[in-house]
Subunit: 211 residues, 4 copies
């Protein structure tokens, strides 16, 4: 009876410390880039010795994964909130797609994190099978509302899924280009192009034109 509260307190302290380390990691990722961030730098920023971090995370990659997971959770929350405010299916589809795009457009740090998952091509992504699956699941959850809204508009589950993937791809492409200055280089506006894409997609669904 005297022990349990203590354990709870201990766990809370432990969780707090983890959170402080993750905050430090985010700051270092922003300052040095994700690949350029070293465990030493994260530890220093958090007020720790490098060795100390190993009591809180099993490896550098584990820290990456944790930060990524939190980012994806914020993304999903942003999408969910947008959807919750939109009663009609078409508006929901629009809101979900634009919220997804808007989250990353507004939070370039999170975009860097997201792209980190996509680096390396065919090479092992480096975070381990289990972590990869966890992150993929989190990503899928953030995209789900798009497919759900499409289905509510009357298309089949398969078509809704394709539309979701296609929207994801378009957003990713535009964000990639915008993030690296290519959109500006060509004198275009990423949010406008995204909005146009979404409107065309909704129109196509309405027409029964498939996608």
């Amino acid at each position: 009876m005297a022990v349990e509260p203590r354990l709870g307190r201990r766990q809370a302290v432990k969780a707090l410390k983890r959170e402080l380390i993750l905050d430090a990691a985010r700051r270092v990722f922003e300052a040095d880039g994700i690949d350029g961030a070293s465990l030493r730098a994260i530890a220093a920023e958090a007020g720790y010795t490098p060795a100390a971090l190993y009591f809180h995370f099993e490896s550098k990659e584990a820290i990456y994964a944790e930060v990524l997971k939190a980012s994806l959770a914020r993304l999903a929350e942003a999408v969910d909130q947008a959807v919750a405010a939109s009663p009609a299916p078409a508006a929901r589809l629009r809101a979900a797609a634009l919220a997804f795009f808007g989250f990353y457009a507004a939070n370039p740090r999170d975009l860097d994190l997201g792209f980190y998952l996509f680096r390396g091509g065919m090479k092992p992504i480096g975070l381990g099978r289990e972590r990869d699956e966890m992150l993929n699941t989190a990503l899928a959850a953030a995209l789900r509302p798009i497919a759900d809204a499409a289905q509510a508009l009357g298309v089949t589950a398969d078509a809704a899924n394709l539309l979701m993937v296609d929207t994801f791809a378009h957003a990713a492409g535009l964000l990639l280009l915008a993030h690296t200055g290519r959109i500006r280089m060509f004198g275009a506006s990423a949010p406008q192009l995204m909005a146009r894409y979404v409107d065309a997609a909704i129109a196509a669904v309405g027409d029964g034109r498939g996608l």
Copy 2:
């Protein structure tokens, strides 16, 4: 009479050796990732001492740039060939867009190289201002035919440019997703989605629906 052929031979040998080193670099990029590739590894793969590479290239970054440049040249050539085979503007637009997408879909190594250009977000790209501009120019040249064909279809220069950027973004997004297994994960097909996107774009241009 005896000297000139020798000189020619020498230059040919020199060019050949450069090419062998670049091939080795490509293999190492594929195996270790582009950021993970070290000069030592490239040298070893090419059968050289690290120091020897400095007789052929002035720095590691110069090797990167050379490999990237060659890749973009092959891309542009693929697009140009596809366009040359298509007389009508609509077919040309389709051919250019699908050739761009198809080149990277068929050559994942080149896709890795291409994405390397896009990494880092706000971080320095690391190849130096001059090399960066050269590479941007090469990329723009590969995309140009898309805008040209759109303009031939009757839209304004601005609209043609937007369509080119949007197509670029869609291709990039689909390739990114496909390359990292996300397309498969959602049970979709990147080439099909790309073709559908292009067809819709052509139809929109035909309708005078802008984009």
Copy 3:
């Protein structure tokens, strides 16, 4: 009660290890020359990996500076002891000058270190502004007693200063020649020449012949 001694012990161990590394550095300086000494060699001589030295010193230059500082401290102590044992001003002047000379004559390693400070002419000294100033101050402290004794003999502060510099120069020149075999080559004795110089200087001061 159990903790404090431990901390003291730790600090003592740390200081001891630093000293062992500095000793190794001194041996390597002697063996390879100061410019020729590499961090690797110092580490190997100390029984460490190169990386390990970075836990004890922040850079190679920091090691150089530490060794130099310790040498100058020993020099100053030798001069101070000689002066402390000499009550009369003339004897003090003599003792200080000969102690300065004698220290380096007896410790050729320290002479090499001292000359290192003087190398490079117009080139950057390479230890950084702060360290340079610290070392200059330490050197000035070792010479101070010469000027003080001269002043006690009745000359002005300026004249005492000049005598100090001149004595420094004569000692440095003789040591340089002796250290590189030139004195022997000319069949002379550096200590004798130094003593003669000092005696002449004291006589000149006594005569009121200025310097």
Copy 4:
């Protein structure tokens, strides 16, 4: 008969090329410091490939030695000229000593070269026994006039020799201090101190006070 002139021409061309390389070496020594000068840099400055220098000099050290030798020859010439202009022995002694000092005071590059000979302490000086002896002989020749003048003033050969060495030492010390800013640091003037030293030495010789 047709051959000899050609050989002479060839040797002249060869000598000229050597001289051009040595000039380049001097410029690089000045720019990068003597230790910092690389064979590559000297070759580039001379308009050659590094490998080409090996047809003119057997090693990097040989280039050092040649440049040093030329410097010492200029020194000896400066001393000889000063002596030639001074008929009386006392004036000759004064002129020789001040010319020695003045040459290095006016030509800091040559001073760097001269000190290079004196570096390294007990370590092999690095130029090889033969070259060392050649350079020592050249140095002795530049100092000889000092001893000769002293002897002309009536002291024994041994005393004249000692005076020469002592003068050498004093000049070397003052130059060392001046060259590295220590004279300025103590608010003194090297030429004044040197002149005073020489005058005192001449007075001592006149008194029959030994030295």
